[in-house]
Subunit: 397 residues, 3 copies
Amino acid sequence: MTTTSHSGSSAGVTRQYAPYVKADWGYANHWYPALLSDELEDGTVKGITIGGHDIAVRRSAGKAYAISDRCMHRGVKLSAKPMCLSEGTITCWYHGFTYGLEDGSLTTIVGNPDDSLIGKAGIRTYPVEEVNGIIYVFVGEEDYGTPPPLSSDLPARVTNDPNDNPVPHLQDEGIVIRGIHRKLVGNWRLAAENGLDPGHLLVHWDNQILVALDRALPLGVNALTDSATEEIDIPDGPKGVMNRYDRPDLYKPVLDNPKVNMKARGTVPHYFRTSLWVPGVLMVEHWPITDVVQYEFYVPIDDHHHEYWEIIATRATTDEDIAEFNFKYDNFMLPLALEGFNNSDVFAREATEEHYTRFDGWNNEVLCDMDYSIVAWRKMAARHPRGFFESPFQDED
Amino acid sequence: MTTTSHSGSSAGVTRQYAPYVKADWGYANHWYPALLSDELEDGTVKGITIGGHDIAVRRSAGKAYAISDRCMHRGVKLSAKPMCLSEGTITCWYHGFTYGLEDGSLTTIVGNPDDSLIGKAGIRTYPVEEVNGIIYVFVGEEDYGTPPPLSSDLPARVTNDPNDNPVPHLQDEGIVIRGIHRKLVGNWRLAAENGLDPGHLLVHWDNQILVALDRALPLGVNALTDSATEEIDIPDGPKGVMNRYDRPDLYKPVLDNPKVNMKARGTVPHYFRTSLWVPGVLMVEHWPITDVVQYEFYVPIDDHHHEYWEIIATRATTDEDIAEFNFKYDNFMLPLALEGFNNSDVFAREATEEHYTRFDGWNNEVLCDMDYSIVAWRKMAARHPRGFFESPFQDED
Amino acid sequence: MTTTSHSGSSAGVTRQYAPYVKADWGYANHWYPALLSDELEDGTVKGITIGGHDIAVRRSAGKAYAISDRCMHRGVKLSAKPMCLSEGTITCWYHGFTYGLEDGSLTTIVGNPDDSLIGKAGIRTYPVEEVNGIIYVFVGEEDYGTPPPLSSDLPARVTNDPNDNPVPHLQDEGIVIRGIHRKLVGNWRLAAENGLDPGHLLVHWDNQILVALDRALPLGVNALTDSATEEIDIPDGPKGVMNRYDRPDLYKPVLDNPKVNMKARGTVPHYFRTSLWVPGVLMVEHWPITDVVQYEFYVPIDDHHHEYWEIIATRATTDEDIAEFNFKYDNFMLPLALEGFNNSDVFAREATEEHYTRFDGWNNEVLCDMDYSIVAWRKMAARHPRGFFESPFQDED
C-alpha cells in the first residue's frame, strides 16, 4: 500500500486557493486584536508582534495608541524597558528618542533637544480601535490608505438564529466580554482550520465538560450536499464560511462506527454553530452554553507561531446579570471550556505544525470528504486578499 | 608547526570509502532494533525514528507491527496520542483515520465510515521481527522488495573462540538478554568507530570497573602487520571487521610511554575481542566478564543523533542461572559497565560531533597508525551498500 | 510619518567605514585578553574562544601557553577533559595525542609511542604575554609573522590629565588590577560603541551608585564642534578616539529637556573621560572614582557573542594601600559599578543585537548628532585593519 491517495490527492486542489497557501505569515491589511483593554493600564506600554510587525501599544490619557516597537536610531524595542515621560509620547530608554503617539514623529531627544533629526524623521504608527474590552490594531502596508471598518474583519452579525435569540456581535452595546490569549507554536492557518473542522470531534471525545453535561456529541458531522457549507461574502463586509448545523437537511451526524466498535456518547442535545471569517476569526454560537458566544482569533505572530485568543461574550446589562456571568466564566467556562476543552485543540494544532513546516504539508496532505468545510474556507480566504505579511528578517542566521 | 600532517592526511584515504562518508543519515534497507520487547505491552503504541523514518510500533494480539507514524491526512504522529480501537488496526487520534496494521490500508474513518478515501489509500508498513526480547524493524526504500534475513544485519555467529566457549548469537535459543538504549547527540558513525577503536583506551584509564577488578589495561594495542584487522564478508550474510585480540602474533600491547610518564595499570589479564558489523553493530565477546557478550547498536535517528543500544547476553536456561545473571546485571553490569564504563564513550562521541558537523571532519581529520582498524571498517562498510537514508525534510527553516 | 530619516540616513555614512562594517567576527591579528592570571593555576587548562579560534590556555611550570584547542586527530577539544601528563606538553584525553606547548608539535601518542605521525605533524600555537594579572593572546593568521607589541593594542598611556595625576597604564609597574569577565549575547561592536557612547546616559539615570554619591549626571553631552572627538593614531602604537570631557570649550552638557519634563539629577560634579581603542578596548579615566581607571575589553567570540571584560586598576604598592583598594573593590566598586552600573549597559547591548542581526542594522540605523563620537570611532577602527576574523564553520546546519 503506497502513500499515494487515489481520490484525495491535494495537488489539484491546492491550485484553487493558492493565495491562501502563500499566506504563511498571515494576511496583511486587516484588523487584529492586540490586547485586552484591562491588560493596558493608563500610562503603560506593552509590546506585541503581529505578522512580523513589532508594535508597542501604549495607553496615554485613557486612549490606546499603536506605534512601531523599533526605535529608528539603533533598533531596540521601545517596550523592552518602557519609558513614558509625557502624555502623548513614548521615549526610547536607550538614547531618549521621543516620538509623538499620533503620527510617530521624533519630537525630541532627551539628551539633545537641538538635534537636527528632530522634527524631520519618525517611526510608523498603526490605526487603533478599542471596543468592548478589546484593543484592535490595523496592521499591514504603511501606505495602505484608510483602513476598512473594523466590522469587516469580525464575524458578521447573526440574524438567522433558529431559536430567535441571536448571540451578540463583538461591537454590540450591552454586552460583557471575558477571555484569554496565549502564544502557541503553529501556523495560524492550522489553528483556524482546527477551529472550524467538522471532522475533529474525536479529540474532544473524553473532554470533561461534555461528560459533565452529558452532551450528545456525534463521531462526525457529514454534509449531505456538496454545497452544505455556506459561503458568506458581504461586499465591504465580513467574508466567511459557516457550518449550518442549524439545518438538519444539510448534515448527517455519525453516531456509530462498528468497524472500530465506537458509538457516540451523551444524551443531551445541544445546538451550536461554527463559522470562520477572514482574516482568521472563529465564531461558535451558543458555546459553551446557550445564549453565550465564543469567539477565537488566530493572530499570526510569525510563520510558526500564533496568538490564540478565546473570548466569551454575552448580553448583560444589570449588575446582577454581569456578576452571574462573571461567576460562571471564572468557575465553569474558563476552566472547563477555554482551558479544558480547547486545550485538546491546542495539542492538535501544535502536533500538526511539524508536518506543514518540515514536510511541505500544504502539498503533502490528503484531504477527505469530511474536509468539505475546510476547503470552502480556504477558497473563501483566497479570494480578494488585501495583502500578505512577509518575513521582516533581512539577514537570518 | 602547521596543522598539515605529513603522513596522515585523510584526503587520499577518504576516496577509498566514499559511500561511507556519504552515509550521514545511515545505511538504508537494513534491520535495526526498534524497541525491547518488554517496552511494548500488548495493545500499546510507541513512536521511534530510524534514519529519518518516523515509525509507530504497535503490539496487537501479541504481535508487533511497524507502520508509518505520520497520518496521511494532516501528517500528525499517530504515536503522539495513541489510539487503538480494535485489534489489527491503529487509529489517528485527530480525525479518526484508521489503518490496518498488516498493509497500512485506510480501513475506516471514525467520524465518516462512508468516506470515499476508505479502501483506496493508506500509509506504508515496515517488516518486523521479534527475537529474544528485541523488536527489529527493516527500514529503507518502500519498494526494496523482500528484506534480506535478519541474520545478515547482526554480528556473525562466533565459532573460533580461543577458550572453546563461544559467546551466544542474538538469535540463539537458550539465552537471556538484558539491556538499555538512549538517544545521544552524535552521528552514528562516530559512535560505531568509538566502539571498535583500539586507540581510545585512554578514556577508560580510570573507570571504576577496571580498578575494582584490577584488570590489566594496556595504553594501546598496535597491529604488527598491515592486515591485522580481519575482514569478514559472508555472501548474503554479515559484513564486519574484527580486532583479533585472540592472536598475540598480530598485536602488541603498549604498556609504557616514558615520554609522558605513563604505565599501564592492573594485573589481572582478561580476554575479550571486538568486532563491528554493517549497518553499525558492535560485538564485544567476553565483556564485561567472561562468557557474557555485549552487543551495541548505533542506530541512526538523523544526521546528528543516534540511538545507543547496549545489550548483554548470556546462555542461561535454568531459573537459577537466569536469576543469577539478572542479579549480576542489575547490580554489577548495568551500573559499572553499561553506565559507568560506557559513559566515558558517550562523553567522547558527543565531544567529537562538533568537529564533524561544523568543520567537515570527514575531510579534516588526521588518522594515525592506531586507526588501522577504523579504516578497515570504513572500507568494509563502503562495500555493497544497500542504500542510504536521506533527510526527509522538504522545507527546513 | 515614514521611517525614512531626512538628515540621518546611514547609507552614505556607512561607506566611510566599510572595513568596520565587515568586521562582524572581529579584527584579526591583535592581542586580546584570554584569562585573568588567577583563573589559571599551575598545571591546569582552560578553553576559550576568540574570533572563532578555539584556544586551550595552559599553565606549565608557571608559564602560560596558548595552543589550538582542537586535536588534529578527530577534532575534539583538548580542554573538554584536561589531561596534562608532563611539563611543557598537553595531551588529548581521547587518544593520547600529546603536543609540545612551545611549538605545537606532536611529541608522542600515549598508546603508540612509535606512531609514524609523531614528530611530523602538530597543531598551531599562539603568542602569549602575561602582565599585571592578565594573560593576553595574539590571535589571527597563522603566518602573520612577529606580532606587534602588546602596547599597540591597549589604550595609550595617559599624559595629559587635567589634575596632573594620570591614571595607570595596564603595563605599568606598581599597580593593582581587579576585575571580572563574562560571555554576553551581542556583537562586539555594539558593546564597544555602547561603552564610548556620549548619548546613552539615560540608561544610567537611576543607577544606585550615582544616586548614592549624588553624582551630577547630565541628560546628554553634546559636542560644540565637528571635531570635538580627538582621534589618536600613534604610528606602530595605539589607535583610538577620546571624548575630551576635560575640555569644556568643546562640550556642552544638557541639563534640562522641558519637552519631556526631565532635568539632570545630582549635585556633586565628577571628572571622568572615556576613550575607545582598536581592537575594542575602553578606558574610563577616574571611574568609578577618582584616581582609579576602568578598562573594558569587548573580545569577539563569534559574530553574535563577546566576552565582556571589566578591569579596575589603581596605583598601589604598600600592603595597606593594596588592602584598602581590595576592600573598596569587593564592597563598593564590584557590586555598584561593575555589576550595578554596567549591568544597565549589558541590558542595552543585548537589546540592540536583534536589530543588527536580523534587520541588517548596520545599513538600517539612523544616527543622530549625538553619535559624532561613535562615527569617529568607526572611521578610526576602519583604518589600517590588520585582518578580519572569519567564520570557521565549513558546514553549518
